[in-house]
């Protein structure tokens, strides 16, 4: 028997200890939001948080995380959440229309959430570093980058204006990437 806490709920599991955490969470606990992409820790689709740190669960044996706290994409916001109940990272993803096929986005959001928890105002280079382990085959990288900056802005605004954040006011403004005019393009 192996004990594990997932999204705040403690489980006692009768599963072989070498089973990767991903398959335990998906097939035993029934939380399917975390995805299988490579089975080798190369793509990040399976990313969850172990005590707040992003980990590759497709290569993490259950026995190695026994007794620990795991958070999955389902643990970020309530079930059937309205847009206002989402985390700033999820809100930014939604408002910038980040997902295409969407398969990698649980992992991307978990990686971005961990980044912003440790670095509330990341530079582009910080984002490159933190997100380089998460592949998006649809190529949504420019929007992921914009969404991380946007979420960072929402979170810092929420710190300085907590009441407005609770009312969802900070998250209501939809800004979509617009066609850029030539004069707006940077030439360094």
């Amino acid at each position: 028997m192996i004990r594990l806490t997932v999204n705040g709920v403690e489980h006692t599991l009768d599963v072989e200890g070498d089973t990767p955490l991903l398959w335990v969470v998906r097939d035993v606990l029934g939380l399917k939001g975390s995805k299988f992409g490579c089975g080798a820790g190369l793509c990040g689709a399976c990313t969850m948080h172990l005590n707040g740190q992003p980990i590759r669960t497709c290569i993490m044996p259950l026995s190695a995380v026994a007794g620990q706290n795991i958070t999955t994409i389902e643990g970020l916001s309530p079930a059937n959440a309205t847009p206002q109940q989402l985390t700033p990272v999820q809100q930014a993803w939604l408002e910038l229309n980040v997902p295409q096929c969407g398969y990698c986005q649980s992992g991307q959001i978990m990686a971005a959430t961990a980044l912003l928890a440790s670095n509330p105002n990341p530079s582009d280079a910080d984002i490159d570093n933190a997100m380089s382990g998460n592949i998006c085959r649809c190529g949504t990288y420019p929007r992921i980058r914009s969404a991380i900056h946007k979420a960072a802005g929402m979170m810092s605004a929420a710190v300085s204006h907590p009441q407005a954040a609770r009312n969802g006011e900070l998250f209501s403004e939809v800004t979509l990437p617009q066609a850029t005019n030539s004069e707006e393009l940077s030439h360094g």
């Binding site: 089973t19 939001g33 992409g37 793509c43 999820q90 980040v98 295409q100 990437p177 030439h187």
Partner: protein, 750 residues
């Protein structure tokens, strides 16, 4: 702009509404409007399949229930390309409802919404919005008029002239309202009106403006159910070890250790969709994977087991020895060659490419005495049913296909091998089974973008000007790998024993019963430049490697070749590559204006600091895309800093969806330009996972600027056309930076 084209977007074009719309009442009350949408094209078989469609076939359904629920049931699938949002936007525009209030369901095949004479349906070819632009709006408009007629009846009005619709309600000029739900049952008693006018573009509320992605919420919360997420009670898990070489078979199998492993239910050899292997079925996925490691298999290598070098040598031999099929013949190229003062020749080589969808292939099948049910992330439910039928004891009538969200398609899921395999396993076990491929299996057993070899020759006349263009292409026929399931999918009423005959007839019927397979030469035979004497030839060369449709198909290689070689010609002529193209595109004003736009946005001639620029323009799926890449070279490495992209896809339906598809297409193509290379040794693919088949990552992703031409031509495809211009734009920038002309992909500086 041409006025006749402008008006054609909103006047009735002679299409009789009764030919594709039917109204009926729901048994629960409410209105059901059945719609026949044109099929997806550009993948071998055109709209109406191999036989002419006489009978009426619905494949989309608008349902308005008495509780005001509005549901749009579609046979198209959502792979990330935004079809779901695009089609709902068209419907909502005329129905006068917020698109976010329309629920979409996937129709599948064999479901309540299926038509017994259903023909081949594929989501591919960047056609969903383009092919349905008029019909879906007419469906929405017709439903709206029927709801108004129902309101007129309730309010005892002589006609509907005092009524209008807004926000899901019919509104009387006196202020009274009735909701669509209240009126749906009455509306169902009226015939579909014949003379409903569509809105003119200046009346659009959503088309060209609606930028909310309707599937985003469930994709940022992990709630969207993909094929790999489907779960049934009592479900078992299967994995398959496949022969490494294509056409290989099981020579010897010792499965005793695997059978004895924990949780294992069954181990057995199988053959499905042309591939031999050994299936391991267990109570959990991980148990199946562990037992798979214990299999002792000796493989019989097939007689034909090519390696990459041999394949390109075969292409070269065929180019040396064969005239091939002429697919473009303008003027007299041979005469131009005889009279030429000089010629420019080049050979281009492109590799096999895997699709590498992030969701590996998978399928869930439940087979029992009642029939077979299949859940699959497939781009073609009708072909999935044929695959399941061919590989089981069930007849097509007893097979139901459910489609799911798809974790990337790019053409991979037009083929149905994962369905075939899982059907074999479930048919044998008579228990629900989920088959999951791992990444290594997915990379090594794809239906690849074909490798190709190209020889080009441009002639320069005595006046020093370009006088002719010849392009000869050695490439297999993708159609021949696809027709096995596609041909029978058009005749689902035929007994299964006829399937091989239908597949054979499909092969023979290429160009007669079915359109010609242009996958080798599309984008080459329609080279747009006014070069006078043009000769394009397709040399059919078949190495025996499974090939399929890969995002932008033939345009993916011919875009690179033609746009690189025209750049070579520009430099030979000592002309600016952009101006040279502009001069030769006088017959294509939309292309010219797009090139001018992209040049303006990218500040052509003034690269970003430390960068060099390259330009390319290519038309695919009726959409022109021009791109300028700013590339920085450091030694033998380079990085793409920015791509400016201008697209002309006619009337934009969801502008932000178009921008997203251009961004995605550019990054997809950049993966191919930087890394994509599937190689073979003794008939087996040498790549396995993302360490040796690399995909683009965040630090390599360039800044992307997208500009959408503002016009009201009928919309054209956006899912694929962003791909072809990228690799040549980057290669042309590398030439500008280094003087090295790179004629092979992936791009490697010497």
């Amino acid at each position: 702009m041409d006025k006749s084209l402008r008006t054609s977007t909103y006047t009735n074009t002679g299409l009789s509404r009764r030919s594709f719309l039917k109204a009926s009442a729901l048994s629960s009350g409410g209105l059901l409007l059945s719609v026949a949408l044109p099929g997806c094209t550009a993948i071998g078989m055109k709209n109406q399949g191999m036989v002419s469609a006489g009978e009426w076939q619905s494949n989309a359904w608008l349902r308005i229930d008495t509780d005001n629920r509005i549901t749009f049931i579609l046979d198209r699938v959502e792979m990330g390309q935004g079809t779901y949002t695009g089609l709902v936007t068209l419907l909502a525009e005329e129905l006068e409802v917020d698109p976010a209030l329309v629920q979409v369901e996937f129709a599948g095949v064999g479901s309540a919404y299926d038509n017994p004479l259903y023909k081949l349906q594929i989501t591919g070819g960047s056609t969903s919005v383009a092919s349905s632009f008029k019909r879906i709006r007419l469906a929405g408009a017709s439903a709206r008029e029927m709801l108004k007629q129902a309101a007129a009846q309730v309010w005892a009005l002589e006609n509907t002239s005092t009524l209008h619709c807004d926000n899901g309600q019919v509104i009387h000029s006196n202020g009274k309202t009735l909701s669509y739900g209240e009126l749906a049952s009455i509306a169902a008693t009226f015939a579909v009106p014949e003379d409903t006018a569509l809105k003119s573009p200046d009346e659009y509320r959503y088309i060209g403006k609606y930028n909310k992605r309707l599937d985003a919420l469930q994709k940022v919360t992990g709630q969207a159910v993909y094929g790999v997420d489907v779960e049934l009670p009592g479900m078992l898990y299967a994995v398959i070890s496949r022969a490494p070489a294509f056409g290989g078979t099981v020579k010897n199998l010792d499965s005793s250790a695997a059978k004895a492993a924990s949780g294992v239910v069954d181990v057995f050899p199988l053959k499905a969709a042309g591939r031999s292997g050994v299936a391991v079925v267990a109570r959990s996925y991980w148990q199946a994977r562990k037992a798979q490691q214990l299999l002792q298999i000796e493989w019989q290598t097939p007689e034909v087991a090519p390696s990459s070098d041999a394949i390109f040598a075969q292409y070269a031999r065929d180019l040396d020895n064969e005239d091939g099929e002429q697919v473009r013949d303008d003027g007299d190229f041979d005469a131009a060659a005889e009279q030429a003062a000089s010629t420019l020749t080049a050979e281009y080589q492109l590799p096999y490419l895997a699709h590498a969808t992030l969701e590996p292939q998978n399928c869930v099948v439940k087979a029992d005495a009642d029939g077979m049910e299949v859940w699959a992330p497939t781009q073609s439910a009708s072909m999935a049913r044929v695959a399941a039928g061919k590989h089981s004891r069930y007849s097509l009538d007893d097979i139901v296909i459910h489609t799911t969200w798809i974790g990337g398609g790019f053409g991979r899921r037009i083929l149905q091998d994962y369905v075939a395999e899982c059907a074999v396993i479930a048919d044998r076990l008579q228990q629900p089974v989920k088959l999951i491929w791992n990444r290594e299996e997915d990379t090594a057993h794809d239906w690849y973008r074909p490798a190709s070899l190209h020889r080009l020759q441009a002639t320069i006349g005595a006046d020093g000007k370009a006088s002719g263009w010849q392009h000869r292409i050695a490439h297999p026929k993708v159609f021949e790998w696809f027709v096995g399931d596609a041909a029978p999918a058009q005749y689902p009423f035929m007994p299964k024993l006829m399937f091989p005959m239908l597949a054979g007839a499909g092969k023979l019927g290429e160009g007669i019963l079915a359109p010609k397979d242009s996958s080798g030469y599309e984008g080459a035979n329609d080279v747009p430049y006014a070069l006078g004497n043009i000769d394009v030839r397709f040399i059919h060369s078949e190495p025996g490697v499974p090939v399929g449709y890969w995002r932008s198909v033939g345009f993916s290689h011919n875009g690179f070749v033609t746009e690189s070689f025209i750049d070579e010609l520009a430099h030979q002529q000592k002309q600016d590559p952009l101006n040279f193209r502009l001069e030769l595109l006088a017959q294509h004003p939309r292309a010219q204006s797009l090139l001018r736009r992209v040049a303006q946005l990218a500040d052509w001639g003034r690269p970003l600091p430390g960068c060099h620029q390259g330009v390319a323009i290519h038309k695919s799926f009726n959409t022109w895309v021009a791109q300028i890449a700013d590339v920085q070279v450091e030694g033998k490495t380079f990085s793409v800093k920015r791509v400016v992209c201008a697209v002309d896809c006619g009337q934009a339906v969801n502008p932000d969806m178009i921008r997203a598809q251009m961004e995605g297409g550019i990054n997809f193509a950049l993966t191919a330009a930087l890394y994509g290379n599937i190689t073979l040794k003794d008939g087996a693919v040498q790549q396995s996972n993302f360490h040796d088949y690399a995909l683009l990552r965040m630090p390599e992703a360039p800044q992307i600027v997208v500009d959408i031409a503002d016009n009201q031509y009928d919309p054209t495809g956006v899912g694929e056309p962003g791909v072809p211009p990228l690799a040549p734009a980057v290669a042309n920038a590398l030439f500008a930076a280094t003087g090295q002309r790179l004629r092979r992909l992936p791009l490697q500086l010497a």
